[in-house]
C-alpha cells in the first residue's frame, strides 16, 4: 500500500451481524404479505361472505344465518322488478359504453394533435372524471330540472316545445334512461380517452409516416394502420368502462333514484335498496352477485388481452 497521508484507520466491519434483511427469499414474501393480507380481509373475505349471504336468509337485524340454497336467488329473480332491472342494466351499460368507445377514440386523436388551448380543453374534458360522481350528478339534477333547465330555453328557441313549455327529462321513462346514460357517458369518457391517449403515444410515429410516404391518405392511415394498432388498447378501455358502468349505482341513485317507477333501476341500485334500505341482506347480496359471472368473463378477457400484448 503506497497511500500517502492516510487518515486515521476506521473500523469498516458490518454494523449488524444479523443478515435477515439480506435474504431475498424472506424479503419478498415479507414485503408482499401485509398488502395481500389486507386485501384478503377487506376484499376476499367480504366477497366470500357475499356468496354465503346470497345462499342464506340473513337480514340486517338477524344474528345468525341459515342456508336456504337457491331460494334467495329464486326469490330475487321472481321479483317482478328484477327483470326490468336486469334489462335496464344491460341497456344502460351497452348504450353508454358504445358511445364512449366512439367518442373517446375521436377525442384521443383530438387531444394528441397540437392546437392552441389544448391544456384547457384537456382540463375541461377531465373534469367529469375527477369530480366525485355524486357531485356531478347533483349538477346534472339541476341542469335537467323539469322547469329551470337551460335546455328548455334552447328547445323553446328551436320550437321543439311550445313557448313556455318544458321537457320533463327525469319524469318520463325513456328520457330518464337517456339522461342516466348521458351522465354515465359524460363521466366515463375521460377515463377511456386517457387510456387511448396512452395507447396512441405508444404507436411509433414511423409506422404512420411510412404509410404516408407510401401514399396512404389520412383516412386510409387511420382505418388501415392506426386504429388496428390501437384496438387492443381500445378493448382494455372498453372493458374498464363496462366494469365501472355495469356495477355503478351513483348516477342512477342521485339522478333518478331508479325512477320513474323502476324505469331506470339497475342491479347495483336495486341491490342497495333491497339490502340497505330494505334490510334484506340476503336478497341484496343475491341481486349483486348476479353480476358476478359477467365480471368474471370481463376479467378473463382483460387477462387474455394483457397476455397477448406481452407475447408480441
Amino acid at each position: 500500500m503506497t497511500v500517502a497521508q492516510r487518515p486515521a484507520e476506521i473500523a469498516m466491519g458490518p454494523r449488524r451481524e444479523r443478515y435477515l434483511l439480506d435474504s431475498e427469499r424472506l424479503l419478498g414474501p415479507a414485503l408482499m404479505a401485509p398488502a395481500v393480507v389486507y386485501l384478503i380481509l377487506v376484499v376476499g373475505y367480504p366477497l366470500v361472505l357475499a356468496f354465503l349471504y346470497a345462499f342464506s336468509d340473513v337480514t340486517t337485524g338477524s344474528q345468525s344465518l341459515h342456508f336456504v340454497g337457491f331460494q334467495t336467488f329464486i326469490a330475487a329473480v321472481k321479483d317482478p322488478v328484477f327483470l326490468t332491472t336486469l334489462r335496464n342494466t344491460f341497456v344502460f351499460t351497452a348504450i353508454s359504453q358504445a358511445l364512449v368507445v366512439i367518442l373517446s377514440t375521436v377525442l384521443a386523436f383530438v387531444l394528441t394533435a397540437s392546437f392552441r388551448g389544448r391544456w384547457f380543453v384537456r382540463f375541461l374534458v377531465l373534469l367529469p372524471w375527477t369530480t366525485p360522481v355524486a357531485l356531478s350528478a347533483v349538477i346534472w339534477l339541476w341542469m335537467l330540472d323539469s322547469i329551470f333547465s337551460p335546455f328548455d330555453w334552447f328547445a323553446q328557441l328551436l320550437h321543439i316545445v311550445p313557448p313556455g313549455g318544458h321537457i320533463i327529462f327525469l319524469g318520463q321513462s325513456d328520457l330518464a334512461m337517456g339522461s342516466v346514460i348521458a351522465l354515465q357517458t359524460w363521466r366515463i369518457l375521460p377515463l377511456a380517452t386517457v387510456i387511448l391517449m396512452a395507447g396512441l403515444s405508444a404507436i411509433p410515429a414511423e409506422v404512420s409516416d411510412a404509410a404516408e410516404v407510401d401514399g396512404a391518405g389520412f383516412w386510409r392511415r387511420l382505418f388501415g394502420i392506426t386504429l388496428p394498432l390501437l384496438s387492443p388498447v381500445m378493448t382494455v378501455a372498453l372493458l374498464f368502462g363496462i366494469v365501472f358502468t355495469f356495477t355503478d349505482m351513483a348516477a342512477v341513485f342521485v339522478l333518478t333514484g331508479g325512477g320513474p317507477g323502476n324505469a331506470t333501476q339497475v342491479l347495483a341500485s336495486w341491490a342497495f335498496y333491497k339490502g340497505v334500505e330494505g334490510g334484506n341482506l340476503a336478497v341484496g347480496a343475491a341481486d349483486a352477485l348476479i353480476m358476478f359471472p359477467v365480471l368474471l368473463g370481463l376479467a378473463a378477457l382483460l387477462l387474455r388481452i394483457a397476455s397477448r400484448a406481452e407475447v408480441s
Binding site: 408482499m32 375541461l124 404516408e212 339490502g275 341484496g284
Partner: protein
C-alpha cells in the same frame, strides 16, 4: 407522439371544431353550475329570459351560506382526514408490495401481482353488504374510520400497480451499488430506491386521495349521521333538504371540490399514464 395527424387546413379546422365540441360537452354542466352559484334567488327561478345572462348582479351569499350554515366544511374535513389516513395505509402496504413485485419475485410473484390487480375489478357493489355488517361487528358503524378501513381495498391494488411501474424504471445497479457500499438488501432500497421513486410516490398520493373522494356507495352504506359524512354523500343527502333545494349552494359545493381536484389531476396526469404503462412492462 404517434397517430395520423391531418396537416391540411381542413384537418386543422376539424381539430379545432372537435376540440370545441368536446370542451362544451364536458364543460357545459360546470358552466351551468358556476352561473347558478352566483345567482340571486330572484334571478334563479325565472324562465322567461336567456338563462346564460345574469339578470341581477352576481352574489357570493350562497357560498358563504354554504360554508357557514351547513355541515359542508365538516364534510370536507372528513374527506381530508379519510383521504390522508387512507394514503398512509395505502403507501405503507403497497410500496413494499410493489417493490417485491418489481424486484424480488419470480413466477409466483407475477401471479400475485395479477391477483392484486384483479381485486381492483371487484366492485363495491358486491362488497358493501357484507362489509357493512363487518363494520358493525368491529364497532365502526357511522364513523369515518369505517371508510378508512375499507378504502385501501381499492386504493392498494391501483397504487401497487402504479408503484411497481415506477420502481421497475429505476436501474437495479443503484441499489446493488448501495449494497456494496455497505447497506443491507432492505437498507439499500430504503436509502436509494425510495428516494428515487418520490415523484412516483407523489403521483400515487394524489390519485389515492382523489380516489377516496370518488366513492359513493361505501360512504352511503356505512355512515348515516351528517357529522361523519363525506362530501360525496353529504351533499346529495343532507344538503338537499326535503323538497327545498338550495341550488346555488349545491352548485357551489360541487364546484368548490371539482376545480382543485381537476387541477391537481392535470398536473399529475402525464406521470399517471407513464406509471400505468410502465407497470405493464415486464421487468
Amino acid at each position: 407522439m404517434a397517430a395520423a395527424q391531418p396537416r391540411t387546413v381542413r384537418g386543422r379546422v376539424a381539430i379545432y371544431l372537435l376540440a370545441i365540441g368536446f370542451a362544451v360537452f364536458s364543460g357545459f354542466p360546470f358552466l351551468w353550475a358556476a352561473l347558478t352559484m352566483v345567482r340571486q334567488d330572484s334571478d334563479l327561478y325565472v324562465t322567461t329570459h336567456n338563462p346564460f345572462v345574469l339578470a341581477k348582479p352576481p352574489t357570493l351569499g350562497h357560498i358563504t351560506d354554504l360554508l357557514r350554515n351547513t355541515p359542508y366544511l365538516q364534510f370536507i374535513l372528513n374527506d381530508i382526514v379519510i383521504g390522508l389516513a387512507t394514503v398512509v395505509i395505502t403507501l405503507a402496504l403497497s410500496l413494499p408490495a410493489a417493490y417485491a413485485l418489481a424486484r424480488l419475485s419470480g413466477r409466483w410473484g407475477e401471479k400475485v401481482g395479477i391477483a392484486i390487480f384483479l381485486t381492483y375489478l371487484v366492485p363495491p357493489t358486491l362488497l358493501f353488504l357484507p362489509l357493512s355488517r363487518l363494520i358493525t361487528v368491529i364497532g365502526l358503524q357511522d364513523s369515518i374510520w369505517s371508510l378508512v378501513v375499507v378504502y385501501p381495498g381499492f386504493t392498494i391494488p391501483l397504487s401497487t400497480w402504479l408503484l411497481m411501474g415506477f420502481l421497475k424504471s429505476i436501474p437495479r445497479d443503484i441499489e446493488e451499488q448501495a449494497q456494496v457500499d455497505g447497506y443491507s438488501r432492505l437498507g439499500a432500497v430504503v436509502r436509494t430506491v425510495f428516494p428515487l421513486a418520490l415523484p412516483g410516490i407523489f403521483t400515487v398520493v394524489v390519485f389515492t386521495f382523489t380516489l377516496t373522494m370518488q366513492d359513493f356507495i361505501y360512504a352511503l352504506a356505512f355512515v348515516s349521521s351528517s357529522s361523519s359524512m363525506t362530501v360525496s354523500v353529504g351533499v346529495p343527502t343532507v344538503l338537499i333538504r326535503g323538497d327545498v333545494f338550495y341550488w346555488q349552494s349545491l352548485m357551489a359545493s360541487a364546484i368548490i371540490v371539482a376545480i382543485p381536484v381537476a387541477l391537481l389531476y392535470n398536473v399529475f396526469l402525464g406521470r399517471f399514464i407513464r406509471g400505468f404503462t410502465l407497470g405493464a412492462v415486464k421487468g
